[in-house]
């Protein structure tokens, strides 16, 4: 095992998959010489050349659509959106084309591509460099959506996404890039898509979340265990579409109290669907109403530091929500 950062894990996954399979290539804005605005593709241009680490025109629909065409030809493109906020011009290509390709052609054509997009707030990015846009795509059968919460998952999920025969959206939390460090295996491995993961076993209540909120929840849970003897069970969704229903049901039943957390706006978010799954399957196992903690239903977080902080889900809010639910 080695300890690396979340962004190093992403970089390693791409490098190893490009070494492993000559059909894998990266395209996006400034991914080449510069190595990406966050340097996620750092070093790949030097190792694999300009054809396999392709700087594209500033046009997101073309980035996604060219990837669709290349994937139909048999390549395994990794299309980078510079920020998840800028994926919207590519939505038609992702939803109308990539997601439906296999189904609409009755399995004649397929579209094995990965779209990587840095999402999430807390980096002074203002309205358009902070959003969580995953819910836009999370009712589109044909797509798979993954969100890693630590370096090991980041690497294993990206490798799985690249090897997947269908289109995968890979949302990576930009605040996690250098904030999160962790151990990753030395050998080649994948983290299976479609499987949630118990990140902490506990008895009193269950938190189900994903992305950067996992790390925040784990820290809060540790403190609460020591300070207030509250035992928190934490399920990391990892794949947010399609959801791992079995794991969600099992985690909810284990404690009978469920707190759902997302940093996305509350209404219409991923956790609403998780709540529906719990409500459908676990009503008589619950000891308290399902509780949700999310960002407010305002368009996106402001740029000013104090206002951004006010908008975001914080460790204090997580702690308060857990304590309240534990006492129910």
């Amino acid at each position: 095992m080695r300890t690396i950062s979340y962004i190093e894990a992403i970089n390693e996954a791409m490098r190893e998959e490009m070494q492993r399979d000559e059909n894998v290539f990266v395209l996006g804005e400034d991914v080449g010489k510069k190595g990406g605005v966050f340097r996620a593709t750092d070093g790949l241009y030097d190792e694999f050349g300009e054809d396999r680490v392709l700087d594209t025109p500033l046009a997101e629909s073309a980035i996604a659509g060219v990837a669709v065409g290349a994937a139909m030809y048999g390549m395994k493109p990794i299309a980078e959106m510079q920020f998840a906020d800028f994926i919207l011009p590519a939505v038609n290509q992702i939803i109308s084309e990539a997601a439906k390709m296999r189904y609409r052609s009755n399995n004649d054509w397929s579209c094995p591509l990965v779209v990587r997009a840095p999402f999430g707030g807390g980096v002074h990015g203002g309205l358009y460099h902070s959003q969580s846009v995953e819910a836009i795509f999370a009712n589109q059968p044909g797509l798979k959506i993954v969100v890693p919460s630590n370096p090991a998952d980041a690497k294993g999920l990206l490798k799985a996404a690249i090897r997947d025969p269908d289109p995968v959206l890979y949302f990576e939390h930009k605040k996690a890039y250098r904030l999160l460090k962790g151990e990753v295996p030395n050998e080649d491995y994948v983290v299976p898509i479609g499987k949630a993961d118990v990140k902490r076993s506990g008895e009193d209540l269950t938190v189900i979340t994903y992305g950067l909120m996992v790390d925040q929840t784990l820290k809060v849970a540790e403190e609460l265990q020591e300070e207030q003897d509250i035992s928190v069970h934490v399920l990391d969704l990892r794949t947010i579409y399609p959801l791992d229903q079995e794991a969600i049901i099992e985690a909810a039943r284990k404690t009978g109290k469920v707190l759902l957390i997302t940093e996305d706006n509350k209404e219409g978010s991923i956790i609403g669907e998780v709540a529906a799954i719990v409500a459908e399957h676990c009503l008589f196992d619950l000891d308290a109403p399902i509780k949700r903690l999310a960002a407010p239903d305002a368009p996106s977080m402001p740029y000013a530091q104090s206002l951004e902080k006010d908008f975001m889900v914080t460790p204090d809010q997580i702690e308060a929500a857990i304590v309240e639910l534990a006492a129910f």
Partner: protein
């Protein structure tokens, strides 16, 4: 024909083959309308008035290896590329054996991997960036082929047209973008759709040649596409055609077009003019024409009967292929 088939280095037989392909597309299309109007198929969208452009272009390609990203009017193109009349009828009747989609998509949403026809959708012009991706991938693999992508003039206003052609131009990819300008985007005429005098002149912005051709003349279209294909560079070709039918079986073009205009379009019908040309050249005799018509009638009848009697996809399979089945990481 402004240039004869001989001047275009086409043999007499090739000139006749082009005619047969045009006639085949027209007769299949006409049958589709009959089937729609008699309540047997729910929808039809037409190629009538664009056969000369479609067959002239397809004839200039290497259909043993070129990739095609057609749009919904390209019945002539897909038939030339190897889709059979029976396939087209299975598609129209939305039956399980439809190679385009197994009855999942509406009529004329073409796609057939074995003939390198990319699967298309209903939002228009998304295929232009796919063509760029196929061509880019082909270059990366050092494979030698052209990609042919077609669309209507109204569609050329979509962002994907600009994003796709700019990408193709930046990388000088071997892609022929073929705009079949039939003067109408449903009911909206050219001058309300496109600001420039021609679509082809937009090519300047994409660092590729742009050319307007008479899309009612299969030989002129053939020459333009052949030249583009031999250039090794991208090209934007605009073929001026007429739309001889309403937009689709759900449209009535008499609401927005005058009787005189519709009559005038009929006079410009490329199929008719090319037929006259072949008669004048002494190539097309009454007997030969009758033979072609009889062959097509038989094939279309057989295909129609087969498709009508073929089973629909089973409901058991209705939810299959959302994701890959049985493929491992």
């Amino acid at each position: 024909m402004t240039v004869s088939h001989k001047e275009a280095n086409l043999t007499d037989q090739q000139a006749l083959d082009i005619y047969f392909s045009m006639l085949r597309a027209r007769r299949v299309d006409e049958r589709l309308w009959l089937l729609n109007r008699s309540g047997k198929i729910p929808f039809v969208i037409s190629c009538q008035g664009q056969e000369a452009a479609q067959i002239g272009a397809a004839y200039a390609l290497d259909l043993t290896k070129d990739y095609l990203a057609p749009y919904y009017r390209d019945l002539g193109v897909v038939l030339e590329a190897g889709m059979t009349i029976q396939d087209v009828m299975l598609n129209a009747f939305a039956k399980a054996e439809d190679p385009n989609s197994g009855g999942r998509q509406m009529q004329a949403h073409w796609g057939q991997r074995k003939n390198r026809i990319l699967s298309g959708s209903s939002p228009v012009t998304t295929q232009v960036v796919h063509a760029a991706g196929v061509a880019l991938a082909g270059r990366m693999k050092r494979d030698d082929f052209y990609t042919f992508v077609s669309l209507g003039e109204g569609s050329s206003n979509q962002g994907d047209f600009h994003e796709g052609l700019n990408f193709i131009g930046v990388h000088q990819l071997p892609v022929i973008t073929f705009v079949e300008n039939n003067q109408y985007a449903i009911s909206t005429p050219y001058d309300r759709q496109v600001a420039s005098a021609t679509v082809a002149q937009r090519a300047t912005s994409y660092n590729m040649p742009g050319e307007v051709v008479d899309g009612t003349d299969p030989i002129a279209t053939y020459i333009a596409v052949k030249k583009a294909r031999e250039s090794g560079r991208p090209a934007l070709i605009e073929a001026l055609c007429q739309r001889l039918t309403p937009h689709s079986s759900d449209d009535d073009h008499r609401i927005y077009r005058t009787t005189e205009e519709l009559e005038d379009d009929k006079q410009k019908d490329g199929l008719h003019h090319y037929e006259q040309y072949l008669v004048e050249q002494g190539l097309l005799t009454e007997e030969l024409k009758a033979e072609m018509e009889a062959t097509l009638k038989r094939e279309i009848n057989e295909a129609t009967t087969y498709a009508e009697q073929a089973p629909y996809g089973s409901v058991e399979d209705n939810l299959r292929y959302v994701y890959a089945e049985g493929e491992k990481l």
